[in-house]
Symmetry: C2
Subunit: 338 residues, 2 copies
């Protein structure tokens, strides 16, 4: 395999994506800056169509499909956000059929929205299913075009446009980004980000954030090769449950990451709470993990400028309400007495 998309392919993806994306200019909060003792810039990919950054990779890949491919139909295996993005993109491109393999315990909202875009949803047990065999069965048995969630140069190039935009906005505002952080599962977002920033902002540190219970990238980096974690780990970060890094993404990430941290469910909750209170943004646990990790001090941002991706918002309202109750509340609620 080669080293992934180059900057020209990322710029090409940016041009292709411009008509369908929402401009997500960086958010900043005085209170969070004071809390971390640095400057925090938040890229709200929660505001994109389909509610996550996944639409970028999906559209970059699917908008290039031939008429023949579209007539065969597309296939995706996804914890939810990629499948939803593929369904949106495939419907827009005119695919004849859309099949999404999704865990039986995926959030209701991801299932419903994906179905609403015309996808056939096939449920699998993420603890027991042989995912590769499932994909092969549907791809080869049904003649569908498989759209990988991360192990594909065009999908990575699409995801890379997130950091590409951050770098452009920072440059235009004369801001130097010392550190970039984003969630890491299969590794597509962080790999694409690393490729974009290597070209546009080479001094920026690149940090991946994984759930502590699914630290396959950290373990793989330590082992020097891809390893798999157990599917029995518990976390509310339902979009970050890859058991092993992608092949292409790991090739990129092992050469590019400045660091990788594991973060807790409480970090995810703290990130969700901060997004709610500081910006009025809804984030799903996985989408808020990197933000929460920074707030928890898992990366050194003191006196520095950090950019973080708020990567998705597809969370069921009842779970959101429940998880926001468990988060640490303000110890002394403000009350007026006068």
């Amino acid at each position: 395999m080669t080293g992934g998309p180059d900057i020209r392919e990322i710029e090409d993806a940016a041009g292709r994506l411009a008509p369908i994306l929402r401009k997500t200019t960086l958010f900043e909060s005085e209170r969070l800056n004071a809390q971390i003792g640095g400057r925090l810039l938040v890229k709200a990919e929660t505001l994109q169509p389909t509610g996550s950054f996944k639409i970028r990779g999906a559209w970059n890949r699917i908008s290039r499909l031939s008429a023949d491919s579209l007539s065969r139909g597309v296939l995706a295996l996804s914890s939810g956000n990629h499948g939803l993005a593929v369904a949106w993109a495939a419907r827009r491109a005119g695919a004849r059929r859309i099949v999404v393999l999704m865990p039986v315990d995926a959030p209701r909202t991801k299932i419903e929205q994906t179905r609403a875009f015309g996808a056939e949803i096939v449920a699998y047990d993420r603890r027991k299913a042989d995912r590769n065999a499932l994909v092969a069965q549907w791809r080869d048995g049904q003649g569908l075009v498989y759209i990988p969630a991360f192990d594909d140069p065009q999908v990575i190039a699409g995801a890379a446009t997130v950091a590409y935009e951050i770098a452009e906005e920072a440059a235009a505002s004369h801001i130097a980004i010392d550190l970039f952080a984003a969630a890491c599962s299969g590794g597509g977002l962080i790999a694409g980000s690393a490729l974009a920033l290597r070209a546009l902002s080479p001094a920026t540190e690149i940090w991946g954030v994984e759930p502590e219970a699914y630290d396959d990238t950290a373990q793989s980096l330590a082992a020097g090769e891809r390893v798999a974690v157990s599917a029995s780990g518990k976390t509310i970060c339902d979009a970050l449950l890859s058991l092993t890094p992608g092949e292409l993404t790991f090739t990129i990430n092992r050469k590019s990451l400045s660091g990788i941290v594991g973060a807790s469910d409480d970090d995810a909750r703290a990130g969700m709470k901060a997004a709610f209170e500081e910006f009025g943004l809804v984030a799903e646990p996985s989408g808020a993990l990197a933000l929460g990790a920074i707030l928890a001090g898992r990366m050194d941002v003191k006196g520095r400028t950090a950019a973080v991706v708020l990567s998705g918002r597809n969370v069921d309202l009842d779970l959101y309400r429940r998880e926001m109750a468990d988060s640490a509340l303000d110890p002394s609620p403000e009350r007026l007495t006068g």
Copy 2:
């Protein structure tokens, strides 16, 4: 009194506000369009600095204060969002002192944020206090410059830039807006909107939405003169508790509104839920009331294009969680069985 700011003053306000505002391009959701049988475009003023549209009127007014006025200090009386916006603007402009008269039961988040901007908060009992006397006491007794929440041409001109932007974006996209709706309390947002749309999109209907329990504008329109409602009414829309319309705003609104509707707390909750699910946006009850009213069918939008303002997001997390539990949940939650 004259008829309020003209389009030239509104354009001037837009130019003055451009450096401090976030671009709030309209949001659209297929699911909501299908639900109403029309086209719904949402202006998310929740994303503005200070979390509501109020920053527009506050900055338009305060950025024009003389050095002498700034050295005297500013005063605001506010249920929360206007006070917060004034504190932000006054601090940015360099006011020597900021005093905000706020109800003792205002949302914690509004109190805390306002204080964080350097304001002195003076609590009043909104059921018993003589608000005019309170303002006079602080304005005259302390020599402060009073910044009205709505009854001021520059504040109205600032608020008018919301609809001004909507009209510009619609024109650029070749969209005709049949109906515009926004929450109505003192009447500043809807009055400013009416002035902007009269100039830029005169065929657009203009609808104000009030809490049923605080329908002072509806009663005043029916009576042909300003009347006051009781302060004992119950609603969760804590930002829409004006007891009577403003003087200048009523002068404008009585000539400009196509209609006024009262909406329920359940409508507010439905609007909050829709903002959460469709856009990943947090809205406070008052900020979501107009959206909820449209979804409840209180305005005729079938086959038409409606623009609605999501006007604010300053709600305490615990109240948000609680109110989102009371809203109607999906009757048959989606589950996969395969």
